[in-house]
């Protein structure tokens, strides 16, 4: 749909803009054809009104020949040709109008004088048409930028949605089932610990739900969540699970995406500690190096255990989230060396969003 015809207000503005143009036309016609002011206005006003609508047709060639994509020669030739045709038709129309007016007694000798103004009329026609071409290109550019903005907005919304979905999927139901099973065991043997574990589990779940809504959280908060998770798992695995933390103090206030580390810690348990009869150690390290933050999660693995089948959903989720958020500025490396599995995350050290 034509952008100007689409709304009545726009059409009104457009026609208003033609009033000075009509005045200009009357002036040049009067000067070149030696017409009286009344005569000039009488012929210029209807001509301008009609031409205003003719010029709207520039929309179609403009849309067909987008700026920047078509060659310059094609652009100039097409619009020049259209301008000449429109200007020519307008001139013919002007002449027909002039001969019709010349029949009236008040316009004696008008036809002859007007004929002298015809080249000027033609020139103005070409000029107005080209102005209209320029106007339409501006309109097209505005529309394109609005569309691009809409698309970017949509992409942002989609990315956010995807991230939230991913976060929700990350709370592994089997973690819950196993924890509930531990609670079930403790209810008769150690009710106090059963209650403690209920509280820990609830705290962990509440954190996961709450943090998912935020874009970034201080590392310290993520570490609290991780500790909560580990405390629940500690009840299940007992002495088999050992955790060592080496967090530099200045890292604690740096911002990270929420639930960045929790899925990796969960992997360290399910693919590492849970496969070892005697258990093992998980080492969590955070260091600030210049403008970057490095986080290392290292855990014991059974070198004989089969490789991770899906290469870890948690791992690929974290990788995707880092990529979406930081692009080239963040990286994730993961791999096993002997009986240790190591994940290294590097991301920019940010203190404010």
């Amino acid at each position: 749909m034509h952008p100007i015809l689409a709304r009545i207000q726009r059409l009104g503005l457009y026609l208003l803009a033609w009033i000075p143009l009509a005045g200009l036309l009357a002036f040049v016609l009067a000067a070149s054809g030696n017409l009286g002011a009344g005569e000039a206005l009488a012929v210029a006003a209807p001509l301008a009104l009609i031409y205003a609508f003719v010029c709207l047709s520039a929309w179609y060639p403009c849309r067909m020949i987008p700026l920047g994509r078509a060659s310059l020669a094609r652009l100039l030739l097409s619009h020049a040709a259209a301008a000449v045709v429109s200007g020519g038709l307008w001139t013919l129309l002007g002449r027909a109008a002039a001969s019709a007016l010349a029949e009236l007694p008040a316009f004696a000798g008008f036809g002859e004088r007007f004929t002298r103004a015809l080249p000027v009329l033609f020139g103005m026609g070409v000029l107005f048409y080209l102005l209209s071409v320029a106007l339409h290109y501006v309109l097209l550019a505005l529309e394109a930028s609005r569309q691009a903005e809409g698309r970017a907005m949509e992409a942002r919304v989609l990315a956010r949605d995807a991230e939230l979905r991913a976060l929700k999927a990350q709370v592994n139901p089997h973690f819950l089932f196993n924890s509930l099973n531990s609670i079930s065991a403790l209810t008769s043997s150690d009710p106090t610990r059963a209650r403690q574990m209920c509280v820990l589990l609830a705290e962990f779940l509440r954190c996961t739900l709450g943090l998912g809504e935020q874009l970034s959280i201080p590392l310290a908060e993520e570490l609290d969540l991780v500790r909560c998770f580990l405390a629940v798992e500690q009840v299940r695995f007992g002495a088999r699970l050992n955790v060592e933390e080496m967090i530099e103090d200045e890292c604690r206030s740096l911002l990270v995406p929420p639930l960045l580390l929790q899925p990796l810690i969960e992997n360290a348990i399910t693919h590492g500690i849970a496969n070892l009869p005697e258990g093992g150690r998980i080492r969590l390290e955070a260091r600030r190096s210049g403008a970057g933050l490095s986080i290392v999660i290292e855990n014991a693995v059974d070198p004989e255990a089969p490789p991770r089948r899906k290469n870890g959903v948690g791992l690929s989720n974290v990788r995707k989230r880092l990529e979406a958020r930081y692009g080239e500025r963040a990286s994730l490396e993961a791999g096993a060396a002997g009986d240790r599995y190591r994940v290294l995350i590097s991301l920019p050290a940010e203190t404010q969003v």
Binding site: F177, I183, A185, S189, G238
Partner: protein, 255 residues
């Protein structure tokens, strides 16, 4: 009464989590006819305990260190009634394929546990087909084994499939060759073949399945047959049908 005591059902509890074992132990306390013969915290212990204690009933977790529940069954070759106990519902199909009596999902309540125990009791004494072969064969479609397990006396060998060079049929056994050593396992070569990824392992002969990555070249041998030369120099016979399969696979890979 004394007669009943003699007929006590001997149960083995296998789970790597102490608390998970504790629940079963506790629920069994209400059943005087059942005695807990032992508890195991990993697959190795379980294989050993099953062959030594010969329990009537096994509560078996699936995901454990070293060997998973199915591998334990495969190696222990028990005719005990087996109740799988796990947090994962994904293994249920496989569990019933190996004639598990029941499949308890953690956490479970007393009523559910009693029902499982009743089913187990009604199954006791029934002779079932050996679980070993079933356990090896029971896997979901398109999920191939990542490792093979072999019991050698009291020792258990785990062979990741990437390290399996070839398998050779030897009467009722199959010899699994890995890194210059051979491990004998009571299984048919067809069932070994069935659990290996057909894109990586080929049946080149009635008696041989080979790891495709190990094959360095094929040489003609006699009129109709050929020899496959492996990276370590081993020479294996290739039948005509085997050669056709091998060629199809190599072409498919664009090699």
């Amino acid at each position: 009464m004394s007669q009943e005591a003699e007929k006590k059902i001997r149960a083995l509890i296998v789970d790597d989590e102490e608390l998970a074992r504790q629940i079963i132990r506790e629920m069994l306390q209400a059943h005087l006819e059942v005695e807990v013969a032992g508890e195991c915290a990993n697959g190795f212990e379980a294989v050993k305990a099953i062959s030594e204690l010969k329990p009537d009933l096994v509560f078996l977790d699936v995901q454990m260190p070293k060997l998973d529940g199915f591998e334990v069954l495969e190696l222990a070759g028990t005719d005990a009634a087996v109740i799988f106990v796990t947090a994962y519902d994904t293994y249920a199909m496989r569990a019933f394929e190996v004639h598990a009596v029941d499949y308890l999902l953690k956490p479970f309540g007393t009523a559910r546990f009693e029902a499982a125990l009743e089913r187990a009791k009604s199954r006791l004494g029934q002779k079932l087909p050996p679980a070993a072969e079933l356990a090896a064969a029971a896997r979901p479609p398109a999920h191939y084994a990542e490792r093979l397990v072999v019991k050698d006396g009291v020792k258990v060998h785990i062979i990741p499939v990437a390290r399996l060079d070839y398998a050779e049929a030897q009467d009722d056994y199959v010899a699994l060759a890995s890194g210059g050593k051979k491990y004998l396992k009571q299984q048919t070569i067809s069932s070994v073949e069935a659990c290996l990824d057909p894109a990586r392992f080929v049946r080149i002969h009635r008696s041989y399945v080979v790891n495709l990555e190990r094959v360095t070249k094929i040489e003609p041998y006699g009129k109709d047959s050929k020899l496959a030369i492996l990276a370590d120099g081993t020479r294996l016979p290739v039948s005509r049908a085997g050669y056709a399969r091998l060629a199809a696979l190599l072409e498919g890979k664009g090699a």
